[in-house]
Symmetry: C2
Subunit: 168 residues, 2 copies
């Protein structure tokens, strides 16, 4: 299977405590959107390789909410690292926009406001612009230093593979 992957740009804003992630996919907006809203699809690509995602709830509509878990695939039951995340969906516009909150439960008082914009490039491709806003530069810089970049890039490569395989 031939898989083409695109660069993931991760931009640290200089004015406000925000990270901006820009990524192109070889699929139209409705498919890239579905990969973000269907929990069964999402669990097949989100996060770095070697991790497993288990969804407790994922009600991706305006006013809905979500909670999920990332664990290493080779975890020994009860002994491994468990990372729970939760948030609410402020607004969901099909194939266009998702505005949601995001918390890693290891730092329950740190909340990010995330906006995912699905731009139709008009040639069967989509540019995804995902911003994440927090309330201090220290928190933003800690988030960037946490190794999130690796997980984001590898997750999008896994999404490229789903697109190439016709799984969307």
């Amino acid at each position: 299977m031939k898989t083409s992957t695109h660069e993931t740009e991760i931009i640290v804003d200089t004015e406000v405590p925000m990270v901006r992630i820009i990524r192109t996919f070889d699929a139209p907006p409705n498919k890239v959107f579905r990969a973000h809203t269907d929990p069964e699809l999402l669990a097949r690509w989100q996060g770095p390789r070697g991790t497993e995602m288990r969804v407790e709830r994922y009600d991706c509509r305006t006013g809905g909410s979500y909670r999920y878990l990332h664990t290493p695939c080779d975890e020994v039951a009860g002994e491994g690292f468990e990372a729970w995340f939760h948030g609410s969906f402020h607004e969901v516009r099909p194939s266009e926009l998702i505005v949601q909150t995001f918390t890693f439960e290891g730092f329950p008082d740190h909340v990010a406001l995330e906006k995912l914009v699905f731009e139709d490039l008009g040639d069967g491709r989509t540019r995804l612009v995902a911003t994440s806003l927090v309330d201090s530069f220290a928190d933003r810089d800690a988030f960037v230093a946490s190794g999130m970049e690796h997980g984001v890039r590898e997750g999008y490569e896994r999404l490229d593979e789903l697109i190439s395989a016709g799984a969307l």
Copy 2:
């Protein structure tokens, strides 16, 4: 009926695009919290005098959402100004914390992340610290310039009156 009111401090942050509102109430945290979570109580104080609040939904729990309308009390049906607002509740911890999103539907792409912290002053009073974070200083300054200060101060005076009347 004697009503004591407190000053409302409205602080514009210099580092991040945030407004911080600080207000003391002569009631313990569980009562001030209930005034924010019970939609029938909320509708009796939120917003400036002369406006009416109608709640479409207000499910104030972690993962819930809300939508409501403010109109002038003397509105001629169909002719007056209608201001709809909606958002989702990221996290609700009884008597302690509400983290929610907020949008005025007149500017549907402007979303604020709001955090309400109910501090127990230990003498039957509560200090409420409400922060509102947006993604640009221009939006934050437009929000402050919109006259929100008047509505916030007068709303809290109406809440003082409910407290004095024993309505909580």
